[in-house]
Assembly symmetry: C2
Homo-oligomer: 198 residues x 2
């Protein structure tokens, strides 16, 4: 059965993140057993998305329009610019429903190891955007990793001297987190940043 | 973002077995970021499969041809008929590369609880197939569950009186299994069915 269309389909699915050969097989079997209800709409939506997907020329987000719905939404605050590494991070912040400003997607982090310098990232465009008169705050929402923080520092340095206010995400205990299972760094940061009660 | 094509795509993927909203999101993001290498071939193969998929009128397998490649393969032994509940079971046995006969897919098990009687399963066709002069053995490869075994018994009863030999899969310790973690039933069955060494 190695060269059949079904096997091809399974091996395509098996390449996707979070899927292996076994789960891809289950998935394909489920799809072909529910052709009308699942396979047909999936093909239609995939085709549509594949044809329509655009990289937003303003922020670097992927969506079916350029500028993306966030950049073209007049109700969103243009004075706040939230800098994220990847589109997945943008989506994650959107899901939190706590940010009503605009985004800027870097497309990764600086990395000496992987040979990624500022030119490989969407940084120059960010500096230009941050200089616009309406922008008052740049929120560095890169990951709390060494590379994420290095990238945030580099961008802060580039923005130094401009009027824009630069902030970063707070460190602390995750909601529902238990102290006993928390790493020392986070616990220390949460203690240092303690807030008055009530 | 709730009605965007991307969200639609994510919610379609999230319905598939083994995927939830989070993994569907990761998967869709991965697909749209690798449009040429992944999304386009996936759409093509899905479209092709959706158009070509057929239920084999002989055994009940799903494939792009009817009869399926197994039923039409002249090198496979027509004297052995392996009865499975689902297509997934057929695929699993194929992967073991130990069976060179033909299959018969029941499409489930008898179940008083779910109101599935013999008429809802592909049983009559099996009885007819098993009566063909070339068939000498029917291997009951239903699951080792109460319903799987009930179904196997029912079919054995229906086949009683014919010349065909009826067998079932062996019970025993799974390869790599540890006795300490094995259930009593399996361990008892393995002990009872012990074999001489060497």
């Amino acid at each position: 059965m190695n060269t059949s269309p079904l096997e091809q389909l399974i091996s395509l699915f098996a390449k996707l993140p979070g899927l292996g050969p076994r789960s891809a097989r289950r998935l394909v079997l489920h799809l072909i057993r529910h052709k009308e209800k699942l396979l047909t709409p999936l093909v239609a939506t995939l085709t549509q998305t594949g044809a329509d997907i655009r990289t937003c020329s303003v922020c670097g987000n992927l969506d079916t329009s350029d500028p993306c719905p966030i950049c073209s939404d007049e109700r969103r605050d243009p004075s706040q610019l939230c800098v994220v590494e990847e589109i997945a991070d943008l989506w994650a912040i959107e899901r939190s429903r706590t940010f009503r400003g605009r985004y800027h997607v870097l497309g990764g982090t600086l990395s000496a190891l992987d040979g990624r310098g500022p030119d490989q990232l969407n940084i120059d465009a960010l500096i230009t955007r941050a200089r616009a008169p309406e922008v008052r705050e740049v929120i560095m929402a890169t990951n709390a990793t060494v590379e994420g923080q290095t990238t945030a520092h580099y961008i802060s340095d580039r923005l130094a001297g401009s009027d824009v206010h630069i902030s970063r995400l707070a460190h602390g205990i995750p909601m529902g987190g238990e102290l006993d299972y928390l790493d020392d760094g986070t616990l220390g940061a949460a203690l240092k940043a303690r807030l008055p009660v009530g």
